[in-house]
């Protein structure tokens, strides 16, 4: 049986191989002072959200490696803690990076990762669903809409721009719900059309008839929320499948990724048990790359990797999940370099924002960790000024439930992205969030 340390030694070699796959690296600078200058904000920026769903144990992703925090961590994480230096890269400021978060070490060395530890909210709630809702709404006074939905309300055309916000999930997260506009949900690249039967020339134009039902509903005076929801969902589907980006048969132009993604047969890293990593996030981000390549006008994409609610079996599940998460983000970032459209090179255009609803309890249980509070977000992109933003929580000063006290308000991250990436003015940003939150310096 391979030990974790032996595995990581093996990984060292494949990690180097992965780094070599970076087609458009920033020169491979790795020592302090040698970081490349971030590229300016592009004219057609794209935001890709990666939702780390379930409340991830970021204490084991970027564990403390010095000072009093390390002592607490070693005590409370006697079994699950990641303290072996061979498994870690020092990020400075008493924080290390778990090498299981594949590819992020290389991106960090290139200065393309902003780490935001201790991100959270006042009066934290330990419920997934309450907290997901609050993260989604992202408002000083939550009122049901999401921060990106409100952005869509102001930035997108009321009648057009159907494909400007896309989620690669079968559901529509609250984060993407506006009062008037909402995002399109697209989960596959092919067959994004009505059943072929309806487009048959031997019958009347049924697709148009179907649209009659939806369009009429939207123009009617109905105020019934259910009726309008049906009409809007149908109309979005209809308009999206009519977009020229979806070609013959309602399919996006096929695209072969230029790098291996986790889950691919050619991807060099596997799960602890030697089987393929999850391809869940890979499939989603490959589709995003394909959509960008096809010229879809989307400005915001939403993706999700679940499974992080590690109350149990964390020693096995967590490394596997980290490999899929980090590896996919790295592969996607590298893959984007090969995509150039009239709007520019995709790697220059994409900012990846990863977040989770909360971190987990500092004290482990038997084999897992329970719900906690403050989390870790990170942003990846060529425009990012890499480094640590905000303070690592003080593990010697936990709250009454043994959870971390947050050090960074999550709405400050949103404010930074709205103003410095999505082109909102400072005043408009504050309006969208309902208050002014301090911007972070990574953009």
């Amino acid at each position: 049986m391979t030990t974790r340390r032996e595995f990581m030694q093996t990984l060292g070699a494949t990690g180097a191989a992965l780094a070599g796959l970076s087609a458009c690296g920033g020169g491979g600078a790795s020592s302090s002072g040698g970081l490349p200058t971030p590229t300016p904000t592009p004219t057609a920026p794209i935001l890709v959200i990666v939702n780390i769903d379930g409340g991830y144990d970021w204490l084991n992703v970027t564990p403390p490696n010095a000072g009093a925090n390390l002592g607490v961590y070693q005590t409370k994480r006697a079994t699950l803690g990641i303290t072996d230096p061979a498994l870690l890269t020092d990020l400075g400021s008493g924080m290390a990076l778990n090498k299981d978060l594949l590819g992020m070490e290389a991106l960090h060395a290139q200065g393309r990762v902003a780490w935001i530890p201790g991100i959270g909210m006042p009066n934290p709630n330990l419920s997934h669903f309450t907290t997901i809702d609050l993260w989604g709404q992202g408002a000083a006074v939550p009122a049901g809409t999401g921060w990106l939905g409100r952005f869509a309300d102001t930035a997108f055309s009321p009648t057009g721009d159907v494909l400007r916000g896309v989620t690669i999930t079968a559901d529509l997260p609250v984060m993407l719900k506006g009062s008037g506009r909402t995002f399109v949900a697209i989960t596959s690249a092919g067959g994004y059309v009505f059943p072929a039967y309806l487009l048959s020339t031997s019958t009347v134009p049924d697709a148009a008839l179907l649209e009659t039902g939806w369009a009429n509903a939207l123009s009617a005076s109905s105020t019934d929320a259910g009726y309008l929801a049906g009409a809007q969902a149908g109309r979005l589907f209809y308009d999206a499948q009519n977009n020229p980006a979806f070609g013959t048969g309602g399919s996006l132009t096929a695209r072969t990724p230029t790098v291996p993604y986790p889950g691919d047969a050619t991807y060099p890293v596997l799960k602890l048990n030697g089987t393929a990593l999850s391809s869940s996030l890979s499939s989603q981000l490959k589709l995003v790359a394909q959509m960008i390549s096809a010229g879809l006008p989307a400005q915001v994409y939403f993706s999700r990797l679940g499974g992080w609610d590690t109350h149990s079996n964390q020693a096995v599940d967590h490394p596997n999940l980290q490999r899929a998460l980090g590896g996919t983000i790295k592969a996607f970032h590298d893959d984007l370099a090969s995509i150039t459209t009239s709007a520019g090179n995709a790697q220059d255009r994409v900012l990846i924002l990863a977040y989770s609803e909360f971190g987990r309890r500092v004290q482990e249980n038997n084999g897992g960790t329970d719900h906690g509070t403050a989390g870790l977000s990170f942003c990846v992109g060529k425009s990012v000024k890499g480094g640590l933003y905000g303070a690592y929580p003080d593990l010697t000063n936990l709250d009454a439930n043994g959870n971390m006290k947050y050090t960074n308000d999550f709405r400050g991250l949103y404010a930074t992205v709205l103003e410095r990436w999505l082109g909102q003015s400072a005043a408009a940003t504050d309006t969208l969030l309902g208050a002014s939150y301090p911007r972070l310096g990574f953009l």
């Binding site: 079968a170 399109v184 697209i186 179907l210 929320a225 049906g230 589907f237 249980n365």
Partner: protein, 552 residues
């Protein structure tokens, strides 16, 4: 306020409203039969399943040949000693997922079985109520990894779904699939061990009280201690090996047991290689403090398990919060999301007055003026599974008719659930929700992707699509327009439309829309010929996909 006094008479529209909400729809003839009965008598029988109309004899017999899709051969795994090929199973056959077939562990088959049951169970309410509880006690196959245990839980929801709520909550807390799903089997609080809080949190937040509604973090930790060691055992006979790969074995059944260091012979826990005779000791001993009350979780009474008193105290100590939680869920699923705070309080008070007897509470709700009020008619968006099941009930042959056909006239549900039409993409992956919070209802059912897949499901049903599986083409939803939809030949486009509306029962469709449809489909003279029957299929598709067609 919600007027909870009982109705004394009902119209055909009332009966159809009741049938849609409390079952999977009634066709016009069925509705007329029910309307002839006194509402309170009819509703009692509907809920209880008593009387000839709900007799399950033919339904139960039909399960033996309910799957119309032939099961292909499973080749032996030649690298595993003792492997033998599993022969193909000719159709029709039972859904091969339980008992001796547990090793197949096929989610799509389990979903198909449930869809078939919803379509054909004469006691539809039993299935509707189980579907409601499945969304509330949402448990997922992807972690349980055992379709047979998932179906065992669904059967629990059927059999206990109208019990007292405290009994139901205890039963679901002891259910093997649930014990796996929220980590109860790994909750060790003996000695100095730190308990696993997963189930304790969600049983209050998601299953009985609602977030932050009458408990705090300390209560969660204490309840986790009370429920530590809650687990289950398998008997050797429960292990079902995959004949084609004997290394794979799945328990077809399991029994609740508190792991407190006592004997478990002759049963053994799955991962104990079959020799253990004593359970490990994972249960906390002594007294916990829950909701400000001290509870002894070591000694037992009333035949309760160790710690069971803690689950029951959720209802006894927090009855008002629990009743409010249940009222909200019942209203959202069965009545409307547009309830006022007073409506909610009224229904909660009724539930509490009924002492959490779900059968009594549901009957009172369904008989109420409030349930039948005009504002609540077509006021909800239907979930995708019941939406397609209801359409199938209306458009496909009845059980008696389908069972008499060769091949059987049942939908190929097994292919509906695993082909491009899947429940997953339509927004409700039956038996496998992504999280323990289940699915949000009403408007949350709809977005551009779920609408896309509703269109695919509607097309599969109305446009007579087939799917090829192992070189055999199967009709996904066999139905004959002339026999099943129009036993009386329509004489005009309007008559076609009226009949389809009577079957599918959408919310009112604006006249401008329906007239545009009819004008496009039948621009000239109407003749009830093959071409017109094809157009009738298209019209059914349009109704099902319209905004009105999502409401029920």
């Amino acid at each position: 306020m919600a007027d909870l006094t009982a109705i004394s008479t009902w119209t055909l529209a009332d009966v159809q409203h009741f049938g849609r909400r409390a079952g999977f729809g009634l066709n016009p003839a069925e509705a007329a039969t029910l309307q002839a009965q006194v509402p309170s008598v009819a509703i009692d029988a509907w809920v209880d399943g008593t009387g000839a109309a709900y007799d399950a004899t033919a339904f139960t017999a039909a399960l033996a040949t309910a799957d119309v899709v032939a099961e292909p051969l499973v080749s032996a795994n030649t690298t595993v000693a003792g492997s033998v090929a599993v022969p193909a199973v000719a159709a029709p056959h039972p859904f091969l997922v339980q008992g001796a077939d547990a090793w197949r562990n096929n989610l799509n088959t389990a979903q198909a079985l449930l869809a078939w049951r919803m379509q054909h169970n004469p006691h539809a309410f039993e299935e509707r109520m189980a579907l409601f509880w499945h969304n509330l006690f949402a448990t997922g196959w992807h972690k349980v990894n055992n379709a047979a245990l998932m179906l065992k839980q669904f059967q629990l929801l059927r059999s206990q779904g109208l019990a007292r709520f405290d009994d139901l909550l205890v039963a679901i807390s002891k259910d093997p699939a649930m014990l796996i799903w929220l980590d109860s089997v790994l909750n060790n609080a003996s000695g100095a061990n730190v308990p696993n809080e997963n189930y304790a949190r969600e049983v209050m937040e998601l299953y009985s009280l609602g977030a932050d509604n009458g408990y705090n973090q300390a209560d969660i930790t204490q309840l986790a201690k009370a429920l530590s060691g809650w687990s289950f055992t398998y008997g050797e006979a429960d292990y079902i090996r995959n004949p084609a790969n004997p290394n794979q074995k799945f328990p077809a059944d399991a029994r609740f047991k508190v792991y407190d260091g006592t004997a478990i012979a002759p049963d053994t826990r799955l991962w104990w290689s079959g020799t253990a005779t004593v359970s490990s000791n994972m249960h906390a001993t002594g007294t916990i403090s829950l909701f400000g009350q001290n509870l002894d979780v070591t000694t037992t009474a009333n035949g309760w398990a160790k710690g069971e008193n803690a689950v029951r105290s959720i209802i006894s100590a927090r009855g008002s919060s629990c009743a409010q939680f249940l009222a909200r869920r019942l209203l959202t699923h069965f009545v409307t999301t547009g309830f006022s705070a007073q409506d909610l309080a009224d229904v909660a008070a009724m539930i509490q007055a009924a002492n959490f007897d779900l059968r009594a509470a549901l009957k009172a709700l369904f008989k109420s003026q409030y349930f039948f009020s005009a504002a609540n008619r077509h006021a909800l968006i239907e979930g995708p599974v019941s939406w397609i099941v209801r359409a199938a009930r209306m458009l496909c042959p009845s059980l008696a008719s389908a069972a008499a056909q060769t091949p059987r006239g049942y939908p190929a549900w097994r292919l509906v659930t695993n082909s491009a039409t899947t429940f997953d993409e339509a927004g409700m992956k039956l038996l496998d929700p992504s999280g323990p919070n289940g699915w949000k209802e009403h408007t949350a059912w709809l977005n551009s992707n779920t609408m896309r897949y509703r269109a695919k499901l509607a097309a599969a049903l109305t446009l007579s699509e087939t799917r090829t599986y192992n070189s055999v083409a199967y009709p996904l939803f066999p139905a004959a327009v002339t026999v099943d939809w129009f036993p009386t030949a329509p004489t005009s486009p309007q008559a076609v439309y009226d009949r389809l509306v009577a079957l599918l029962q959408p919310a009112p469709i604006p006249a401008a829309v329906s007239s545009a449809w009819l004008a496009a489909l039948w621009p000239a003279t109407f003749t009830w010929d093959t071409a017109a029957q094809t157009k009738a299929r298209e019209l059914a598709f349009l109704i099902l996909c319209s905004p009105s067609g999502q409401l029920y």
